[in-house]
Amino acid sequence: MTRETIFNAVLLLGLIAVPTWALIMDQPFTITLATRAVILALAAAGLNIALGIGGLVSLGHAVFFGIGGYAMGILAHHAQSYTAMMQWPFVIEGTKFMPVIWLVACLVAGLIAWVIGILSLRTTGAYFIMITLAFGQMFYYFAVSWSAYGGEDGMSIYVRNDFPGLNTLAPIQFYGLCLTLLVIVLIFTARLRKSPFGLALNAARQVPARLDAVGLNPVRLKLVAFVISGVITGLAGALFADLNRFVSPTMFSWQFSGEIMVLVILGGVGRLFGPVAGAVTFVALEHFLGGLTEFWHIFLGMILLAVVLFARGGITGLVAGKEASHD
């Protein structure tokens, strides 16, 4: 067992133990905070596939997060107001059934990721960062002026959506659902990295010339990674909307894209549990520093700077040392 494996196991145990303790002590808000951390970790896990494995520095991942959120918001809005989403050419009804919402969120996020990916992957480096940022701004301004779904005000969903066999309004049950999804995605990511696709993608990031030599198209590989990444972040967006029972254009904002990136880098780029470590740390900082001072952003900024300057590899790197298989 490497130190990283032990660190990951401790993290996972913590994600089970802390909410259990909170349940026993009757501290439901701690569970809500943990749910937030898990969902943000899921969003960051999505970005980590594009960023960590594919080397795609996307400053527009809030697009997929927002799409996931709006998929939930729009479907649930129509379900709770008993109006159809579309009358023609065929009737589409809203729904409050989570699996369907997730499916729609993933499909739409994937589709948009594919389109954005095709256009953006024509560029590289700084241009790629900026064009993804521009797509994010486009969606943001679109959502702000989309008055049918609340515009800048966003939309409130009065009751959390349903999952068969669960009472999703109970914090611990919703938490369990989110944690399960996170674990599934992490297992998927782990297998993806070991798969021929993952290895080829890793090579596309590090030595693109070698891929050309064996006849693989690095851009196509990156596009697939970008789409998978968008799908996962979209799913996280749908869950985040359900956690807050609310969606708004801020889910599309470039600051949010920046925050997801912060989570990944804080935890350790390309590390399997990096997003988890990053999200847990971020939520904890937000909670405790925010309680101490109005000006907590200054300290958050300094901590981030320290991580970039002195702790390459983020928290995981700090605790577990350099990764053997990478870099």
């Binding site: 520095v57 486009m138 989309w146 920046g258 880098i265 900024g301 981030l304 300057l309």
Partner: protein, 306 residues
């Protein structure tokens, strides 16, 4: 729609483009020479505006305020270059984005700590206030004309600096071959600090000039920063000429689409939805422009081939 209105709107577009150029020039210079993506460039714009407002409040002099803006932004630039940015030149873009994102947080909340949460006051100097009548009977604010002239002068100054002076030769050499200029005995770290401070001073100047007709408040830099990024990406990162053309394109598109699209849409639909749809599309227009340019030319209009 009269010709006068159209000319006036074109002037407005030029003016906003020229101010964007001041921001974008520094940004693209820093990227071209040091290969650094600086998200905190908007914070330097804010520093300039706040310094100008503070000094104008104390002394009542707009000239002193501008000098203070230049000095404060250059100083802030030199300090962060020496303390933070310098360590990022060899890192990948990812680290740069994160570190400069962190600097935004520190600058914004730090400014609020020092100056409080209320917007500051900065006014146009008396000599430049009020409108003038241009040939053709167009009434136009004198200050905005002054901004256009100031922006063009700075542009010419930059061109002279880079094409005609010793420092300029070093800067151009730095863009092409870092080892070479180190071998020539130029102190590269001093050159980098200088370039960064120059870019910062330009941002600070833009902040002070624009601050006189806008609101001087925390967070004022971020919207401009994003526009400036759009500009340098359209123009081609690292190209001053590209930044200039890109800035004018963005300024004109942003202004003209916002005015004329709702009017065009009114020909096809009712007034209220036309206004609302038109402004919705207009707010996305520059990003649409940028994606179109990048799809057509992935390294911008004047960028080096990737």
């Amino acid at each position: 729609m009269s010709t006068i209105l159209i000319i006036e709107q074109v002037l407005n577009g030029l003016q906003s483009g020229v101010m964007l150029f001041l921001m974008a020039a520094g940004l693209t210079l820093i990227f071209g020479v040091m290969g650094l993506i600086n998200l905190a460039h908007g914070s330097l714009y804010m520093v300039g505006a706040f310094a100008a407002a503070a000094v104008a409040g104390l002394t009542g002099s707009f000239v002193l305020a501008l000098i203070a803006a230049l000095a404060a932004a250059a100083l802030a630039g030199a300090v962060i270059e020496t303390l933070v940015i310098r360590r990022l030149y060899d890192s990948d873009h990812l680290d740069q984005v994160l570190a400069t994102f962190a600097l935004i947080l520190i600058f914004s909340e730090g400014t609020r700590w020092v100056f409080g949460s209320f917007p500051l006051f900065l006014d146009i100097p008396d000599a430049l206030s009020g409108p003038v009548t241009l040939p053709g009977g167009i009434e136009y604010p004198l200050y905005r004309l002054a901004l256009i002239v100031a922006g063009l002068l700075v542009g010419i100054g930059l061109w002279v600096l880079i094409e005609r002076t010793r420092v300029g030769i070093q800067i151009r050499a730095g863009e092409n071959d870092r080892e070479m200029i180190a071998a020539l005995g130029v102190d590269i770290s001093k050159l980098y600090t200088l370039v960064f401070a120059l870019g910062a001073a330009l941002a600070g100047l833009a902040g002070a000039l624009v601050g006189a007709i806008q609101s001087v408040q925390v967070g004022m830099g971020e919207p401009v920063l994003i526009l400036a990024f759009v500009v340098i990406v359209i123009g081609g990162i690292g190209s001053i000429k590209g930044a200039f053309i890109g800035a004018l394109l963005v300024g004109l598109t942003d202004t003209l689409v916002g005015i004329f699209l709702p009017e065009v849409l009114k020909l096809f639909m009712e007034a209220a939805p036309a206004t609302s749809t038109g402004s919705a599309i207009a707010s996305m227009s520059i990003y649409i422009l940028m994606s179109l340019v990048l799809i057509w030319r992935p390294s911008g209009l004047f960028g080096a081939r990737a």
